[in-house]
Symmetry: C2
């Protein structure tokens, strides 16, 4: 049997430097745990635009469709701010999500014990926080038609369309209920059904899918109240299911609550492929952070934990994922910190590669 | 000359009980400060539906168009959850906003010194916080057509349309820049220009309007990053300008940061009327809180501060507004608290009317 395949797309900004550390971890699993991956690497985002004039070359897209999992760094940066919409770095990422049909975006918002002090929230509000946001990722206002800027009575008009079919809401809801079953059997669905008809359909469909998961306690919340409740008392939530745009905002809000932004991974999953593995892409929640790029300051942990998610969700290696996560927790408990996590406690500052060294040592 | 006119719409839940206290304050200004208002009262939301089968009767709409200012309590409640979308309590509120053309929604997010401990955020992150969010209120996905739920290939599809004309973005932007000029000359505009064309137009138009306000320091931020930054370091912001839907979520998030939710007023302003006053509606940021309705537990301060905003923005009585605000600050400094604000410090618990008494005494 051939080795499982991984396509690495470092992308822009700090993407390249954190991915170097991930590759060292991948190599360790090959050498020490007999988990050998066929790894290839390619361009996405501004890096792809610089070389090919497009944020995702067709060849790269084809490769992404063939591999077992994609690992992406980050896309975007001020250098590309003035590019036409159609070739902006983000279009590369969105094309991957859409063409691979990665409808279920899993975004854990987890507060690491050793880092609870980094939250802007009071420690007792966030200590032990562990939420999973399931964000619908391939539909909604991100992809709805009609869209664009046109002229009307001599005036520019900007249009985007929020559009959800029953089937789109349903398959994401199933992913969310499955996640709730694996966790604490508590799901909160968020929309604006008081203002948007697409939100009414959302609530309806989620309520129907609930019949197949009677053990899960389901609640509904308006997304504005959801933002409030996340700030007020985030531990009331376990799994949250919401749409592409609300999910973009609410998951970033939840991520920032934890104080552990440089630590948070994500998984974007689609339907099972012929080999039974889901189509999958893994990426850190943080962005390309162009301000600290190339200075050895980036925290590689979010990207390494994204690889841990790949081990768990794509390769059925939950024990190996746990091994990697435990190594990272140990390193943090030992006080090893990249620049984003330096406090006044007794900690050891390290560079991006220093953090890689420490994790390898702990493994 | 006739007295200025006020239409009071208590609405649902705690709306009625907080409005009783506001009327006592209004009466005080008539008796002691010679500021006599012609006050009328009517129904909106579920209360209007119960009586008329519609969340806003045409006669009420007509009255709202004629008065100098509308003061609204809150709308909505679980009792009305299963009503058809077209007669939900919220439709009454949205009709008022739309037909009065109240395009500029001013939402202060202010942390009251005496209450900084109530925030879920660390005290140093929120103490002294004072942000003004200017939310576009009459367009965007709240009102865009086409909208609704239709069948396609035997499946339900939910559609809403995000639509902004240049003129709509511009007039809200002018309101935001004017606000920035009265404050610290710092404006941050938020959209998702990396994903939505309507966001690109938004950024373009705001950048153009900036030419008329060169003294204001303008920045742009993606709305998801905006949510993060609000949680991370809210004091970096002074005035924020954003669209109807992002504004709904971000202003609730910002309001909750302060820990002073029961304290926050809002103003929704339109174009000047024949008498020079803007079309205007004032309402507390909090909702109808049906769980504590009728128990004398509601905090009337947000609604009273909404009346203070009316004094300032509709009636050019900035000094009287300041007088009222100072009375409220004194009451808080004295430790008088409704149930939502009780901590372990040395405070005096009061009912809704007890808070009204205390504010009148301080006046
Ligand atoms: C980079 C951008 C297109 C993307 C999004 O809006 O989905 C990002 O914010 C995210 O959440 O993954
Ligand atoms: C009640 C509801 C329609 C309203 C909105 O979504 O605008 C509320 O959340 C608000 O922010 O004023």
């Amino acid at each position: 049997m051939s080795n499982p395949s991984l396509l690495i797309l470092p992308g822009d900004g700090i993407g390249a430097e954190v991915m170097v550390e991930v590759r060292r971890i991948i190599d360790w699993f090959g050498a020490k745990r007999d988990l050998v991956f066929d790894v290839s690497e390619d361009l996405v985002g501004g890096a792809a635009y610089d070389k090919h004039g497009t944020p995702l070359h067709d060849d790269t897209m084809a490769k992404a469709q063939e591999v077992d999992a994609v690992l992406l760094g980050a896309v975007g940066g001020p250098k590309y701010d003035d590019l036409d919409f159609s070739v902006k770095p983000e279009r590369g990422l969105l094309r991957l999500r859409k063409e691979m049909d990665l409808f279920a975006n899993l975004r854990p918002a987890q507060c690491f014990d050793a880092l609870a002090d980094f939250s802007s929230l009071k420690k007792d509000i966030v200590a032990g926080l562990d939420i999973m946001i399931v964000r619908e990722l391939t539909s909604g206002v991100y992809f709805g038609e009609p869209r664009g800027i046109h002229m009307e009575d001599n005036m520019r008009v900007g249009v985007n369309t929020q559009r959800y079919t029953e089937a789109e809401i349903e398959r994401g809801a199933r992913a969310a209920f499955e996640m709730a079953m694996r966790r604490n059997k508590k799901l909160c669905s968020m929309e604006k059904a008081n203002v948007m008809e697409s939100g009414i359909l959302w609530r309806d469909v989620v309520t129907e899918v609930h019949k197949d998961y009677p053990e899960v306690e389901l609640s509904h919340m308006y997304a504005d109240n959801g933002a409030m409740q996340l700030v007020r008392a985030p531990k009331q939530f376990d799994v949250i299911y919401t749409d592409n745009l609300f999910g973009d905002i609410l998951s970033d809000c939840a991520a920032m609550l934890t104080g552990s932004l440089g630590m948070l991974p994500s998984a974007s999953l689609g339907a099972p492929m012929a080999n039974g593995r889901p189509k999958a892409m893994y990426e850190p929640v943080h962005g390309s952070a162009p301000d600290i790029m190339g200075q050895g300051k980036a925290n590689p942990i979010a990207c390494i934990l994204s690889f841990a998610m790949a081990l768990r969700y794509s390769f059925d290696q939950g024990d190996e994922a746990t091994r990697l996560e435990a190594a990272i927790e140990k390193v943090l408990a030992d006080g090893v910190r990249t620049g984003d996590l330096l406090g006044d406690e007794d900690t050891t500052p390290v560079s991006t590669s220093g953090m890689g060294d420490a994790i390898l040592a702990a493994l």
